[in-house]
Amino acid sequence: MSNLLAAAAVAAEEGGHGNPLLPHASELVFGTISFAIVLILVGWKLVPQIQKTLEERTDAIEGGLKRAEEVQQEAKETLEAYKRQLAEARHDAARLREEAKEQGAQIIAEMRQEAQAEARRIVEAAHAQIEADRQQALQQLRAEIGALSVELAGRVVGESLEDSARQSRVVDRFLAELEERTRTQERISS
């Protein structure tokens, strides 16, 4: 300061130069206009724009983070729901398998029982049939044997029972006749 004042004093003494501490009126006016231009253009117009942009950037970054957090939360919830569903499904499947096994065993047992009953029934029916057939055959045989015996006895009595050869011939002839009869009967029936 004192240096400056001294310099100003020297300048004043020399007389030819203005005091540097005294402003020029024209420079004051020019400086005011210049400063006003800078304040209006930079301060009033441009700085608010960058402030707005900086705010938007902060919003964008914070918003992005928040959205990412939300999405992560949602994904976590979904995953848990899926896990829960999967566990339920596994549980259900196990239960169903168990049931199916039980049912299968039951069905097999029932089937076996039925089959056994059926088999028994068939066997019984066959037995009955056989018995009936036998009875029928017996009756038929009895009737035929009766008639045949009477016929045979008649022949034997009709011929003289002289020798055994004759006897056997008679028997043989009778049997052959019998066979013949049977064959013709078959031919007629077929």
């Binding site: 402003p23 210049s34 231009i37 800078v38 942009t53």
Partner: protein
């Protein structure tokens, strides 16, 4: 240029140190209007540079910054985080339009002192320091009365609470003098004097170098000439630092005055 002026002025064989006459600039050419001088041309250039730069940076701001916008944002964040918020507080962002404009306008005007050919810091003419200082002063008075009331302002200023009563006898007039009367003066003169002295120093060493190495080259004087040359380079580097620092301090004080007006309790 300076040395030539000196030669023309003195015409002698003696080295003459440059004085305050190096701050006197007439009209740019014969017949030019009297206000159109080198200092006003430099101020006009500063206006164009500051407006052009911020127009390029901020006129179409992108969410993802590219190129000049990055540099502009670095400047904006510097002023906001180093000046506006520490000095004013949370509502400091509202004063960024004023503070950013002031900081860069003064910074560019100061740096004109080391731009080749121009080489004159505009605030070495006190008018260009008075204008922004006066705007800050008017703002401070207006905001103080608006936020504290006229009586409240003087009460907060002269009688800050929590001091022994007798101290107010000394404190009150000192505070009144320093805040209302000296503040605008020191605010303007701090900037002006630094730019004035810095320019004078560079001019002195440069003319020593020019005189002893080119005008009057002698075996004895050449050493002095080299010293002058080296010192003018060193001082130019130092002046870049001072110019940036003074722009910063000017803006810091402006923010501090505004902050004090808005929040007197701090």
């Amino acid at each position: 240029m300076i040395a030539r002026q000196l030669l023309a002025a003195e015409g002698g064989n003696e080295f003459q140190a440059p004085g305050t006459e190096i701050f006197d600039w007439g009209p740019l050419w014969d017949g030019a209007p009297s206000w159109l001088t080198k200092p006003t041309l430099i101020v006009a250039l500063s206006v164009i540079i500051v407006c052009g730069f911020f127009w390029a940076a901020f006129s179409k701001p992108k969410l993802v910054p590219r190129g000049v916008q990055n540099i502009g944002e670095v400047g904006y964040l510097f002023v906001r985080d180093q000046v506006a918020r520490p000095m004013i507080g949370k509502d400091g962002d509202k004063w960024m339009p004023f503070l950013l404009s002031t900081f860069f306008f003064i910074l560019v005007m100061n740096l004109m002192g080391v731009i080749p050919v121009l080489q004159l810091p505009a605030p070495s003419h006190i008018a260009f320091a008075i204008v922004p200082a006066a705007v800050v002063y008017v703002l401070m008075v207006f905001l103080s009365i608006k936020h504290q009331g006229l009586g409240g302002w003087f009460k907060n200023m002269m009688f800050p609470p929590g001091l022994p009563a007798w101290l107010y006898i000394i404190l009150a007039p000192i505070e009144l003098l320093s805040t209302v009367i000296l503040r605008p003066f020191t605010h303007a003169v701090r900037l002006f004097a630094n730019m004035f002295a810095g320019h004078l120093l560079i001019a002195f060493f440069a003319s020593v170098g020019y005189w002893f190495l080119i005008e009057k080259l002698t075996p004895l004087g050449s050493g002095l000439g080299v010293l002058g040359f080296v010192m003018s380079v060193v001082m130019t580097g130092f002046e870049i630092f001072v110019q940036a620092l003074q722009a910063f301090i000017f803006t810091l004080l402006a923010a501090s005055y505004i902050g004090g007006a808005l929040h007197p309790d701090h």
